[in-house]
Symmetry: C2
Subunit: 131 residues, 2 copies
């Protein structure tokens, strides 16, 4: 038997799949705050911020099911907090720091600092970030 | 018939009713962000911040029913964003600025500034504050 061959074309392995993102002008503060208000989503954002680079969903450890994890990433994307782009079969996630900073100066930084401060007071709990 | 008489004692008209509030140490970032993520609750917070003083629920105009309004104030109180104290038959609401600033430095200010900035971009919409 011939083993399955990896794709050999230069075409994107995503098969043209593209995730929809809100334009910067359509990002709303209330949606961003809602996206950040969930412990798992906040953990995603903290992990991406700590990495300073895009990460596959599988690289962000969340103690939830795959489908729940996918849901949280989608909420973050639809709120404009992260971008998601296909790389092969992986979705790569990145913080939309520039967009958020332009719209809401200092907000993301204060949330990240607040999360760190809370960890410091309570000890790393559900929201703790491992990088 | 004798009409019902108003109470004549000096006892507080609240009848001793006291709202429960989380201690500062029990205020959680996720709950605060959730409380702030609703347009009506954000409007309450902006109104209280703009006044710089406590306000009765009836002094904060919200285009929602009384029961919905009561719900929003309760969510804010239970998250630790506002305090509610009875004064006569009114509940007086005040921002817990000192507690929030101690726990999450700069967070409330950046949210308020972000809300103002959004109004500036979009024009005063549902979140607009009239003082």
């Amino acid at each position: 038997m011939t083993p399955p061959q990896p794709p050999t074309t230069a075409a994107p392995a995503s098969g043209g799949r593209v995730c929809e993102h809100p334009d910067r002008a359509d990002i709303r503060l209330e949606a961003v705050l809602h996206a950040l208000s969930d412990p798992m989503r906040l953990r995603v954002v903290r992990t991406l911020a700590a990495r300073g680079a895009a990460a596959a969903c599988s690289e962000v450890e969340l103690p939830v099911s795959k489908s729940t994890s996918t849901h949280h990433f989608r909420v973050l994307r639809e709120a404009g907090v992260i971008s998601q782009t296909y790389r092969g079969t992986s979705k790569m996630n990145a913080l939309r720091r520039e967009d958020l900073e332009a719209l809401f100066p200092g907000l993301l930084g204060s949330v990240l600092a607040a999360a760190d401060g809370q960890d410091g007071r309570l000890g790393p709990a559900a929201g703790a970030v491992r990088t």
